[in-house]
């Protein structure tokens, strides 16, 4: 009986106290016909056995040198991050309902909120959402709730937003009678096509999503887009990579008065790739809109003696108080990931984070210049990029990816499924973890694949 401490004597005494002959009796209110027989599950493994099994499984995962990004980024994670985050007191605590017995988690969350607010230059941050895609969906819902000027429930969603995010938004807002209007991109620059936006000028738009950096790695003209949103009474939703914000103009400073909501995925801030999760979503907004913010919020207050302390607050937004009329159904969020991100940001600091961002950017510049020096490799977009970029060769992307994988490299992400119009395009990413030698090796392998192909 793994993880059950009861001895035979305990069981006897407890049953005697209850006056029942066996634990079976405790289930006597359950109609007998409902009870299932023995489950068809594999027999119990001892820790020793399951350890061997999982080591073998982990060994079946092939370690490739990673040049893939597209929403999940391999950054170096300081060892201290998870050494501290994994401590039992963080790991095995519940949501901090009893504030006095949860000051550790609560203060971490308060610090996290402060860091995110500062990084995005927004007033407030919540304490996390599930991931980047759900944060965008929640932002869209929040925008509709918040935008008193608009009655249209129409959302402008650029095609330069991560297609995986767009599909999640479709699922989540699908039953809300919202209209998601795609904005095409300029095939030359890889940015939102300004002309396509003009079409909507003067119409009733509830919100405009502005991705920075966008899915192609290209930097959008965020000021213009934000100004357009403000001018047209639309909520400006910034969808941002928080790591990039160490270097890029933060949403709170876009246009004249900044974006209204900033959201995104916090994975770049100290969270391992881990096959896609757990990561965490973040969301920041103006103070004026805080009552529409979904998710937990931690506030600083004082105790009976006037000593500062922390507690969950503004809970009237949440499902356990407001039930069917809550700002969101979210309850369990991604607390431990946020703990890791907080420690990560504390260890990196403003300068450390800036240098990671800058190094990633420069590594990508370096790769693109090596790649475009290879015959028949072309960069697809002319817009300025950050740490991802799109290129194309004369061979099918799938063959390039397979060839690179054989040579130990995860070459990026093929765009053909979501953007057939781009042909054999590959989205590649270079973070600070790749060395100059890695970069040259990538370019060399591409050259060799093209010379043999």
């Amino acid at each position: 009986m793994p993880f059950i401490p009861h001895t035979e004597a305990d069981i006897r005494e407890m049953l005697a106290a209850l006056g029942v002959p066996s634990t079976e009796t405790l289930f006597d209110e359950i109609p007998a016909e409902l009870c299932c027989g023995a489950l068809d599950l594999p027999p119990a493994l001892k820790e020793m056995e399951v350890t061997r099994l999982m080591r073998a499984r982990a060994g079946q995962n092939r370690p490739l040198l990673c040049f893939a990004g597209a929403g999940a980024y391999e950054h170096h994670i300081p060892a201290a991050v998870w050494a501290v985050t994994s401590r039992g007191e963080y790991y095995s605590a519940y949501t901090p309902y009893q504030a006095e017995a949860s000051q550790g988690t609560l203060q971490v969350l308060y610090e996290y909120q402060s860091m995110m607010a500062s990084l995005t230059a927004m007033d407030v941050s919540n304490a996390s959402l599930y991931d980047g895609a759900t944060s965008l969906a929640e932002a869209v819902l929040m925008a509709v709730r918040t935008n008193r000027k608009s009655h249209s429930r129409r959302i402008l969603m650029p095609k330069t937003v991560h297609p995986f995010y767009r599909r999640v938004v479709r699922t989540i807002v699908g039953s809300q009678a919202l209209e998601l209007i795609e904005l095409p991109y300029d095939v030359e620059t890889g940015r939102v096509d300004p002309a396509s936006l003009e079409i909507h000028s003067g119409t009733d738009i509830a919100a405009l999503v502005i991705p920075q950096i966008n899915f192609f790695g290209v930097l959008e003209a965020v000021d213009e887009l934000t100004v357009w949103a403000a001018a047209n009474g639309a909520i400006a939703i910034a969808l941002v990579n928080p790591m990039a914000l160490a270097l890029l103009k933060p949403p709170g400073e876009w246009g004249q008065e900044g974006a209204d909501i900033a959201c995104g995925d916090g994975q770049p801030l100290g969270i391992p790739l881990s096959g896609g999760g757990p990561y965490f979503g973040f969301m920041c907004c103006r103070k004026a809109h805080v009552h529409q913010l979904p998710g937990r919020l931690v506030g600083r207050t004082v105790d009976m003696d006037g000593k500062p302390g922390f507690t969950l607050t503004l809970q009237a937004r949440e499902q356990h108080i407001r039930r069917g009329r809550a700002t969101s159904n979210i309850c369990t969020n991604q607390g431990l990931m946020v703990t890791a991100a907080t420690i990560y940001m504390a260890l990196l600091g403003p300068e450390g984070l800036r240098r990671v961002a800058l190094q990633s950017h420069q590594n990508t510049l370096s790769l693109m210049s090596s790649l475009t020096a290879v015959d028949s490799v072309e960069r697809v977009f002319s817009g300025p990029f950050f740490h991802e970029a799109v290129f194309r060769t004369r061979r099918p992307a799938r063959e390039i990816m397979d060839g690179l994988a054989e040579r130990g490299i995860l070459g990026g992400h093929e765009l053909a499924r979501d953007y057939p119009e781009l042909g054999e395009a590959i989205l590649v990413c270079v973070t600070e973890t790749r060395t100059q030698e890695d970069i040259e090796s990538y370019a060399r392998q591409i050259a060799s694949l093209l010379s043999h192909g």
Binding site: R57, G104, G275
Partner: protein
Amino acid sequence: MLIFDRSRRGRAAHAQLLPESGESPAIPDYLLRKTRPALPEVSELDAVRHYTRLSQQNYSIDTQFYPLGSCTMKYNPKVCHDLASLPGFLNTHPLGLERTGQGTLAGLYELQEMLAEITGMAGVSLACAAGAQGEFAGVAMIRAYHRLRDDLARTEMLVPDAAHGTNPASASMGGFRVREVATDADGNVDLTALELAVGPQTAGIMLTNPSTLGVFDQHIRAIADIVHRAGGLLYYDGANLNAIAGKVRPGDMGFDVIHLNLHKTFSTPHGGGGPGAGPVGVGDKLLPFLPLPVIVKDGSRYRMLTETERPHSIGHLVTFAGNVGVLLRAYVYIRMLGHEGLERVAEFSTLNANYLLKKLVEAGFEPAFPQRRAAHEFIITLKRLAKEHHVTALDFAKRLLDYGVHAPTVYFPLLIPECFLIEPTETESKEALDAFVRIMAEILKEAETDPDRLKSAPHSLPVRRLDEVRAARHPDLAYKSE
């Protein structure tokens, strides 16, 4: 002291600080940041010491008894963390999963199969990030099912008044109107009320069984019949599966769709508020609607079904394949339990709950449903204390903290005044339960003789009772440097 208070301009954890390259970015100036974010500037030791000391201010399963009802705070095996943290798993990029992550996918595939068997459902998707998202997915599938049949009038979701807040919230988010159904004196769904509530507008009902009142609804088949007959579907909120795992299966009770909280029944950590995982399972009727990804085995290779292969799927709910690291932990847990161990979970969580209830009643506490067996959790009400001594459940809860145990869930479910929802779980020993009873009895005495001791509790924690009203009235949600 905040980490910001430790910050000094120019301080850094140098081992993490990349060299300054000197080159400026190839990015137009108007896109660049001009002000530094106010992140703290501290040394590595500063950060480690700060967050290590903060951690010590938490109560947690690893350090305290934590009988938080509805939350299933049981031991989170260390090995689950260790194995999910093997570099082979951690370093796999989500977009490389099929190409380079066959080891991960094998585990996920088997987890799908095992969860289907445990719940008696036809298919499982692991995509959802937590219970509430599982609920949303379930609701969305119910909606998609009726839509595909052109049964568009079904705009109402029934939810018992005892339900967890996420249930009505998810139903709303899924586009339904919520209609509450009353509970009868025994804590079961009031069948007469249900009969009255159902109709052609009924899309379905969301139920937890055993309910958050801590009792198993004996009329579950009758409920299923009433709702099914009305054309609605049954949704099972799996947050309480710990009470019945290996004993009774939601599928056999007549449920069409369920979610599970792996961070409850399957012992993945709560992490101070997540991450969790909320896999959903469905019967045959709803199979086509399962959220993606769903993992299948083609010969000896694993892969994820596409939208083309599952055209009726409600779609994706998270960016990638779900909280994979959480899923792997649950996989390890289930493999360690096996079928033998899984049956014991329900048996011993139920034994512990009933024993604790019995002892507390002997110690003078009042059960909410004295006529009923406890499931894996139960409710006591302190309304007598509140009336006679003006001591609230909250006061009592805060005083428990002084004795080094975490308080039970308070004021939920909303139906029962001044209530404690107490869930000891199966991983606690008889001694832990007996100690808790002694403490409860002690505080009961205090409440009667020295109520102020409770009203001003806690006394021995890092902070005393916090001013929640002030927190909400004057929200201070982020540090601002002067």
